[in-house]
């Protein structure tokens, strides 16, 4: 790990990239390296980290905007935002604990490169929705920018947002600019016990169809709920379905009563007040109940009403635990160790219910041998490869990370 390239400035990044391009040397792109275990293993003789480019370059709380160098630790950004009563609205999840590298390591650039959004995605939008500008260097060694520092900007194609979720395969970010929002005044969580997956999805969808701005809906299986460390919920030993409201205290007092009335058929919820709510959602954000324990971890995006059936279809082939977020639109599956991580069965379940699946946690040989990202339809695959070619014609950036031949 001694020979990791560590540019301190965008110019240095450009010159390093140019040198690599001239000699056609592939390079693995890292932030803090906390998500290095996601994707197919990258075969590159050189690694480069953005960690040397750090610092908040712009913060205007009254304009709800911040710019930071790509290698700035997320924790630094969140501390700075909190000091002015603000936050990242998309609540980026922290994959560190699930990947066994610990929490709180990731950089802001990597959050956008992986488009990591948490539970608030359903009301506030995804990471990509908040990314309003990027600067970076592509595989050709060119410095480029897209977007800017203003919220509304349709000048030229939306390259910034298009780079979100490209896992360092198209360009290396040097700086990202993003939208922020005020922290809510107060938080309350309604926790419904003992619902089946079907009923939980129904309840979560019904909650979101009300005019009360529900900002989090999750459902944990009995086993996963049993792993919570949360003081009030730990050891409950029953499935839990949680509905979050965030707003001014007076509003959530009113809204939670309204919600309880609408959802009365699903039982009587426990109520988590502010501190207790924050503790619970902080665990959700870190996926602390999905630690590396010899199992594999899949992330599946689907249509909420299909989620429970999709999980049931996969369950016919293996013992698994499911965590539902986004009212069922996002499912995390913990699957038993096996040579193919249950890939064939999971992809079949996804194919028949709609959606896409990514293998988030598996040993290197498994990730080498099965598709980690969703196999693409031929037309989409062709466009995807065209985009890769446009940014990185020599295929130097994170080769093979998303798809074997790309």
């Amino acid at each position: 790990m001694d020979d990791i390239l560590r540019p301190a400035t965008e110019w240095e990044l450009k010159s390093m990239m140019t040198a690599l391009r001239e000699r056609a040397i592939p390079v693995e792109i890292l932030g803090a390296g906390s998500k290095r275990g996601v994707g197919r293993p990258v075969s590159a003789p050189v690694a480069m980290t953005t960690a040397g480019m750090r610092g908040i370059s712009l913060y205007e709380p009254s304009e709800l905007v911040m710019s930071a160098r790509a290698g700035t630790p997320l924790t630094q950004i969140e501390v700075e935002l909190a000091s002015r009563g603000q936050m990242l609205p998309f609540e980026p999840i922290d994959l560190g604990p699930a990947l066994g590298v610990g929490a709180g390591l990731q950089t802001i650039g990597a959050v956008f490169a992986a488009n990591l959004s948490g539970s608030r995605r359903i009301s506030a939008g995804a990471a990509r929705d908040h990314l309003i500008g990027v600067r970076g260097v592509n595989g050709r060694g060119e410095i480029f920018k897209s977007g800017g520092r203003v919220m509304k900007n349709v000048t030229g194609y939306d390259v910034a947002r298009g780079l979100s979720g490209s896992w360092g395969t198209l360009a290396v970010f040097s700086e990202v600019t993003f939208k922020v929002l005020p922290l809510p005044d107060d938080v309350v969580t309604l926790v419904y016990p003992d619902l089946t997956d079907d009923l939980a999805v129904e309840l979560m969808s019904l909650a979101l169809a009300q005019p009360y701005e529900v900002s989090g809906t999750v459902h944990l299986s009995q086993a996963l709920a049993g792993r919570l460390r949360h003081k009030g919920l730990a050891g409950a030993g029953r499935p839990l379905t949680a509905i979050r409201l965030e707003n001014f205290t007076r509003s959530i007092t009113y809204r939670k009563e309204k919600l309880r009335e609408v959802l009365v058929a699903y039982g009587t919820p426990a109520e988590l007040e502010l501190e207790s709510s924050l503790e619970f959602w902080s665990e959700v954000r870190k996926l602390s109940f999905l630690p590396p324990n010899g199992t594999h971890l899949w992330r599946i995006s689907t249509t909420p009403s299909e989620a429970a059936a999709l999980v049931a279809a996969a369950r016919r082939h293996m013992a698994l635990e499911a965590f539902y977020d986004w009212s069922g639109g996002l499912v995390w599956l913990e699957t038993p160790a096996s040579a193919d991580a249950g890939s064939a069965d999971i992809r079949r379940a996804v194919a028949s219910h709609g959606g896409h699946a990514t293998l988030i946690r598996a040993d290197q040989p498994v990730r080498q041998s099965v598709d980690v990202f969703q196999p693409l339809a031929p037309a989409v695959d062709r466009i995807t490869r065209g985009i890769k070619q446009a940014f990185d014609p020599l295929g130097l950036l994170n080769p093979g990370r998303m798809y074997a031949t790309m």
Partner: protein, 499 residues
């Protein structure tokens, strides 16, 4: 007459017009093709009416298959295609060319699926923006982006331009509210991008397609998010003696932790015109007016408006009026949303669309006044203050020689000013032909090359909506960069092997 150069038409294509019309009729039937001069004239411009070009022919297909067949035919014969929704583009995004087929999607306007449990609507792209909200209103839902032209403009056009509106401060713009599209590429291939899920499977192609100004393909269907509407909403109006105070008020409201659904700004000339038109009770003796809307239950609305009023009171507003009835609320919004039309009754105008960091508002407004005064033109300012998206309306007289050139010059200066303070050329209208030649004020050649290479992935021959978005010489250079031999080889191999 005007300053923007339009590419000269290909005489070979013009000569083949009759054959092309026959072929188009053969592909999608007589009823879908408009070829007579009067019929084509209806399509010769969009809402940037200073520019007009008689299209070669107009096709209004009724199915994705027909769209695909037309594009395949056009590609095979090297004929340009200009996509069109309702033709409400303010930047010439739908301006035809003499040697191009206009392909309009306005006949494809059906609602295909409404799914309240999963909160999406699947629609044909020619549906109007407002018709989506209307289709789901009964269940208390709505489609969030609300451009002023929402009664007429199509979702297809909104997707092409990534349109915004007054309420995107809270709900985001088009790209934040779309889950999937059916895109027909210039090869005539139908591609499903996204679906009814909340994120992309690999690269976020949807993000690239939305806002690509009709240059990547033609969208025939889309899946959009629908949201449950708030229990109620109410606007208030706050008038100040200076624009600077109004700007400070906006900054303080946002910094306080309240994000209203909308914060709109009008200066005195705009207030007077809109009040005369809508009789909404706008205070006419103030220099700057904010319209601020909040949502929620009755009590929440009262609480929030009181909180905002307390912030405003510290700045000694000249007027502070909370809407007293649903009727008045409707009038307040009617005045704002018909502002362009109301000003259009007084004078020709050139509507600008730059965005600025809000902190620069007082300086930028002063400079805009100075620029217009220097050019001997009047200006009214209307804009989305919460996100700094300005709409200066530069008034001129189209019948007076030289005035439109003056207006365009002043407009260009205004947009460069926006960029110079850290903003951008266009916040929600798009680049089109209008801002094409200003792109270098905001982007380097390398920035533009990155974008042009993405265009080449979808349409290397530049047949879709050509002559727009990028300076013409930048496009020429990008096309020269693409190795013609390699492109021929790729074309010969056919689409399946081209990857």
């Amino acid at each position: 007459m005007s300053l923007i150069e339009l590419p000269s038409p290909d005489p070979a294509v013009l000569d083949a017009r009759e054959q092309i019309v026959r072929d188009l009729i053969g592909i999608c039937g007589d009823a879908a093709v408009i070829s007579d001069e009067d019929g084509r004239r209806t399509f010769e411009t969009d809402a940037l009416t200073a520019y007009r070009r008689m299209p070669l022919a107009v096709v209004l297909p009724t199915s994705t298959e027909d769209v695909a067949a037309v594009l395949k035919y056009a590609k095979a014969n090297g004929i340009k295609v200009v996509p069109r929704g309702a033709g409400t583009s303010l930047c010439g995004g739908a301006l035809p060319a003499e040697d191009a087929i206009v392909l309009g999607v306005s006949k494809m306007n059906r609602v295909l699926e409404l799914d309240y449990q999963n909160r999406f609507a699947r629609v044909e792209a020619g549906i109007t923006n407002l018709a989506i909200s209307a289709a789901v209103a009964e269940e208390g839902f709505f489609y969030a982006p609300d451009p002023s032209s929402q009664l007429a403009c199509t979702l297809a056009g909104n997707l092409a331009m990534n349109s915004g509106g007054a309420h995107c401060l809270k709900y985001g713009v088009t790209t934040n509210n779309v889950l999937g599209v059916k895109l027909v590429t210039m090869d005539g291939e139908v591609v499903e991008i996204g679906g009814s899920y909340l994120d992309a499977e690999a690269y976020d192609l949807l993000a690239l397609i939305v806002g690509s100004e009709g240059q990547f393909g033609i969208i025939t269907e889309a899946t959009v998010r629908i949201l449950r509407a708030a229990e109620g909403a109410r606007p208030m109006m706050i008038g100040f003696e200076t624009s600077a105070k109004a700007g400070i008020c906006v900054a303080r409201i946002i910094a306080s932790g309240i994000i209203p659904v909308a914060i709109e700004f009008m200066d005195k000339p705009a207030i007077e015109v809109c009040e005369a038109f809508a009789k909404a009770g706008y205070p006419t003796d103030v220099e700057a007016l904010l319209i601020i809307e909040v949502e929620g239950s009755e009590q929440e609305i009262v609480d929030r408006l009181a909180y905002i009023a307390s912030i405003a009171h510290e700045l000694n507003p000249q007027a502070l009026v909370v809407s007293a009835s649903d009727e008045q609320s409707a009038k307040i919004w009617k005045g704002r949303k018909s502002a362009f039309g109301a000003i259009g009754r007084l004078a020709d105008y050139y509507c600008m669309d730059g965005t600025i960091p809000l902190g620069h508002l007082p300086y930028v407004l002063e400079e805009i006044s100075a620029i217009c005064a220097r050019n001997g033109l009047r200006v009214a300012n209307i804009f989305h203050a919460g996100d700094g998206n300005l709409h200066p309306l530069i008034m001129y007289d189209a019948n007076s020689p030289g005035e439109i050139e003056k207006a365009e010059r002043a407009g260009a200066e205004v947009l460069k000013l926006c960029v110079s303070v850290g903003g951008c050329l266009t916040g929600e209208h798009g680049v089109g032909i209008e801002k094409r030649d200003l792109m270098r004020a905001q982007f380097t050649d390398e920035d533009l090359a990155v974008q042009l290479r993405i265009k080449a992935v979808f349409d290397p021959d530049w047949l879709l909506n050509p002559g727009k978005v990028f300076p013409l010489d930048a496009v020429e250079r990008a096309m020269a960069e693409t190795d013609p031999v390699a492109r021929r080889r790729e074309a010969a191999a056919g689409p399946a092997e081209a990857a």
